[in-house]
């Protein structure tokens, strides 16, 4: 019988080991060790006194580019867009998200929108000494078109080099926002591109990749032959760690700039300040706009409660976004009314005032009367839905919980449920899901609201012919300014659209500020509105950061 006792003790100890065994993993492998190496290597520990021309930035482990620095596999041009640093791009997005030039000196589009002609600089060399020509550009675009697994290039038919400095893009469909795509595709050298390019990138951009210790850090050094403005920050080290490890690293003075979350915003670190940058990194949930049914594969689509237009309108004005910001992100954010707030293609008609009474009135008038337990009902349908959120995201969980609390006051019963991404997309066809979006391209509007072949939009069932038509016209427009106007009309043209007065198939809640701990004497250059993804965007202009 003693044995039983011993085995029990062993079981307890094993159980404990299991718990503590997760500790090191959780803190992420990019904690102490790589930093010490780094110190040794730089020898001076420049960051210790925060001076010189090098900087150490801490990002989340998910920011590490799995497939390396190959634009075809998502570097810069992936799910989370940013400037590729190592490579040059044809265009860039300006701080106001209009289009500027990097390699390009001129671009023209044909009347029918099917041919783009871009002239590039003739004085640019790759870091291996070879000149960058139009054929490299054509090669890059033909490569990403064929191999990109993370971004859509189906609008491009072929890119051809007319001469050394002129490249022509032949489109398979008119695509007026092509310059926004050109702003994220890094140009790779035709002569040095192969399967291992991702790990040994050669570009013509501001930085060279000096060293990559997978799972730990990446070291960039300034490109001495860079053609553009002088690079002030000569050496950039990016380390990857979890939020709590990044906080600890900043506290220990090991990094100069560390990403952080709003949950840490009430903390303080000596010698560091909390930087907060506005974003279009929004959170919101979809409301399936068709009644329950099944699709061709037999999956459930639609929702009987949220398919009522008046319900969606009531929810949109019945949510106090300001309170949500205070509750969930300690005020570090802005209310969101669309997927593209403050972008040049944003229509401010999307803005609504919070009005709980009005929301109740709308529900009453639509026939949703109070039933048992204060929850409304209409023709036997309960005013209730299940709100999904990604189980790994505590911020979206909190947003879902706050939505639940606020809608309860309207007489709508919300249950929340954490789900994995393996099932989330399918389930969102019938149940609202807490999403995060926000890109430096109007294409996101198209992806969310435009219908597919089956007659419904892809992420959440919804269809409006007029909205579709405006977006089709916007893509076919011959210049960007016209297209902006059409994108805005797609949101609201005075009679229909996707706003409160329109069909409101998505409810946008908040734009989350991106927060960083930064050494007080580090001057981070002005940031454009960050897109979704709390990662590489911060170092878009790291070359212009300075120590004071």
């Amino acid at each position: 019988m003693k044995r039983r006792k011993i085995s029990f003790i062993i079981a307890v100890i094993l159980g404990m080991n299991l718990f503590s065994g997760c500790g090191p993993n959780y803190e992420s492998s990019a904690g102490e060790a790589p930093r010490q190496e780094e110190q040794k290597e730089t020898g001076t520990g420049l960051s210790e006194n925060g001076a010189g021309d090098s900087v150490i930035v801490a990002m989340g482990p998910n920011s590490e580019p799995e497939a390396g620095f190959d634009p075809a596999y998502g570097w810069g041009a992936g799910e989370h867009v940013h400037e590729p640093l190592i490579q040059s791009t044809l265009t860039v997005t300006n701080p106001d998200l209009s289009i500027g030039y990097d390699l390009a000196v001129d671009m023209q589009v044909s009347e029918d929108g099917m041919t783009w002609t871009v002239t590039i600089r003739d004085d640019v060399k790759f870091t291996d000494g070879e000149p960058l020509t139009a054929s490299d550009v054509a090669f890059t675009y033909n490569t990403v078109k064929d191999t990109s697994s993370v971004n859509d290039f189906t609008m491009l038919k072929e890119a051809t080099a007319v001469n050394d400095t002129t490249v022509e893009f032949h489109m398979s469909q008119a695509y007026s926002i092509w310059p926004y795509t050109m702003a994220i595709v890094g140009i790779v050298p035709e002569h040095a591109y192969g399967p291992d390019y991702g790990e040994h990138p050669i570009g013509s951009g501001r930085y060279l990749m000096k060293q990559w210790d997978k799972g730990q850090q990446i070291i960039f050094e300034a490109n001495p032959d860079y053609y553009g403005e002088e690079i002030k920050m000569k050496r950039v080290t990016v380390v990857f760690m979890e939020e709590d490890a990044a906080f600890a690293a900043a506290k220990a003075g090991q990094v100069d700039l560390a990403y952080t979350a709003a949950a840490y915003s009430d903390q303080s670190i000596d010698g560091y300040e909390l930087l907060s940058f506005e974003t279009v990194d929004n959170r919101g949930f979809n409301l399936p706009a068709v009644p329950v049914g099944t699709d061709a594969q037999g999956n459930v689509i639609g929702n009987d409660f949220t398919s009522d237009l008046q319900v969606r309108r009531a929810i949109n004005i019945g949510l106090d976004r300001q309170e949500m910001l205070e509750n969930v992100v300690n005020g570090y954010g802005t209310p969101a009314y669309s997927v593209c707030d403050k972008m040049p293609w944003y229509n401010s008609a999307a803005e609504v005032e919070y009005d709980q009474e009005e929301a109740k009135t709308i529900l009453e008038e639509a026939g949703w009367k109070e039933g048992s337990g204060g929850i409304r009902e209409k023709n036997g349908v309960r005013a209730a839905f299940n709100l999904l959120y990604p189980a790994s995201d505590s911020l979206r969980q909190a947003l879902a919980a706050d939505t639940q609390n606020q809608l309860k006051e309207l007489g709508i019963e919300v249950t929340i449920e954490g789900v994995g991404w393996d099932t989330a997309y399918d389930r969102a066809q019938a149940e609202p899901l807490m999403w995060g979006w926000g890109a430096h391209s109007p294409m996101e509007l198209y992806n969310i609201y435009h219908t597919l072949e089956n007659g419904l939009a892809g992420f959440s069932p919804y269809a409006n012919e007029t909205v579709d038509q405006y977006m089709d016209e916007a893509l076919a427009a011959s210049d960007l300014d016209t297209s902006y106007e059409l994108w805005q009309k797609a949101q609201w043209d005075g009679t229909t659209g996707i706003t409160q007065e329109g069909d409101i198939p998505w409810i946008w809640l908040v734009n989350i500020d991106h927060l960083y701990w930064s050494r007080e004497n580090l001057k981070v250059a002005e940031q454009k509105l960050h897109p979704h993804g709390h990662g590489w965007s911060i170092v878009n202009n790291v070359d212009q950061w300075i120590w004071q």
């Binding site: 019988m1 003693k2 039983r4 006792k5 085995s7 029990f8 079981a11 307890v12 159980g15 299991l18 718990f19 997760c22 500790g23 959780y26 939020e243 709590d244 906080f247 600890a248 949950a263 840490y264 903390q267 205070e326 509750n327 969930v328 189980a391 790994s392 505590s394 969980q397 909190a398 919980a401 706050d402 639940q404 609390n405 929340i416 449920e417 954490g418 789900v419």
Partner: protein, 274 residues
């Protein structure tokens, strides 16, 4: 006050442990609604008389949440221990009485299940059963029976040689009648104690698997979920999120052990001095 003898003390200890555990189970059930409630006006409160275990980043009352989590752990443990011990009893008896072929088959299955690392098997089964509550329950239930089955098989093998069993056989009772009438009563104390001592394992494994994220979705109050969430907040100095739920988990597990041990002493006084 009259001094109690050892047996009375043990009984009292057993009673106290059981009462506490039953209370936790019931309280958790009653409070399950409150455990899910979020209230952002009271977020991040350290422990105070109103919220004994403090509140978390969504203003959930951690005391209520921990109780509900433990209650669920105990209920999962109850089911798992029940299923496991019945399985163990059945397989143990079958293995020892139905002949060599059955015996080697059963011992082979026992070795197979014991040979796979326990937590791995748990994860595999609960994943295969669609994760979530169902997955956890099935996973925990199907992986805890082996050692008890082995023990019972040994006991039965020993019993088979006892003269009263042999006599019963000669008197014409079928193997099943012998097993039911003569063996089960003899095995009952072993079985009961084994059942109670399965609880701590089941509870810890339920906590582990939910901690690792293979079990329930994060809004559910489960001890593992609570503890894994609290890890994120340790760096911010929110120690109460991990400490109290952890302590209460240890206390619960320890009390089950106390209950099992004292029951063993009561049912099998001969072993009390071993």
């Amino acid at each position: 006050m009259r001094r109690m003898n050892g047996r009375q003390k043990t009984a009292l200890l057993f009673g106290a442990a059981v009462i506490f555990l039953v209370l936790v189970t019931i309280a958790g059930q009653v409070l399950s609604e409150a455990a899910m409630a979020t209230d952002f006006s009271r977020k991040d409160r350290p422990p105070c008389p109103e919220y004994l275990f403090g509140t978390d980043w969504m203003g959930r009352d951690m005391f209520v949440r921990t109780l509900t989590g433990l209650s669920m752990s105990i209920r999962i443990g109850l089911l798992a221990a029940g299923v496991s011990s019945l399985l163990a009893l059945f397989l143990g008896i079958v293995s020892a009485t139905m002949g060599r072929a059955v015996d080697s088959l059963v011992t082979w299955v026992i070795d197979l299940v014991m040979g796979i690392p326990h937590i791995l098997l748990l994860i595999l089964i609960s994943y295969a059963c669609g994760k979530g509550f169902k997955g956890v329950v099935i996973g925990v239930s199907l992986t805890h029976w082996t050692s008890l089955a082995r023990l019972i098989r040994g006991e039965v093998l020993q019993l088979k040689e006892a003269s009263y069993i042999k006599a019963a056989g000669k008197l014409g009772l079928s193997p099943w009648q012998i097993a039911w009438k003569h063996m089960v009563p003899h095995l009952f104390p072993q079985f009961l104690v084994g059942l109670i001592l399965l609880f701590p394992h089941a509870i810890l494994h339920e906590a582990s698997i939910t901690f690792l994220g293979f079990g329930l979705s994060p809004e559910q109050p489960a001890v593992g979920v609570i503890l894994s969430e609290s890890m994120q907040y340790l760096a911010m100095g929110k120690w109460w999120l991990a400490l109290f739920p952890g302590l209460l988990l240890v206390l619960t597990v320890a009390l089950f052990d106390v209950a099992g041990e004292s029951l063993r002493k009561l049912l099998d006084p001969g072993s009390a001095h071993v």
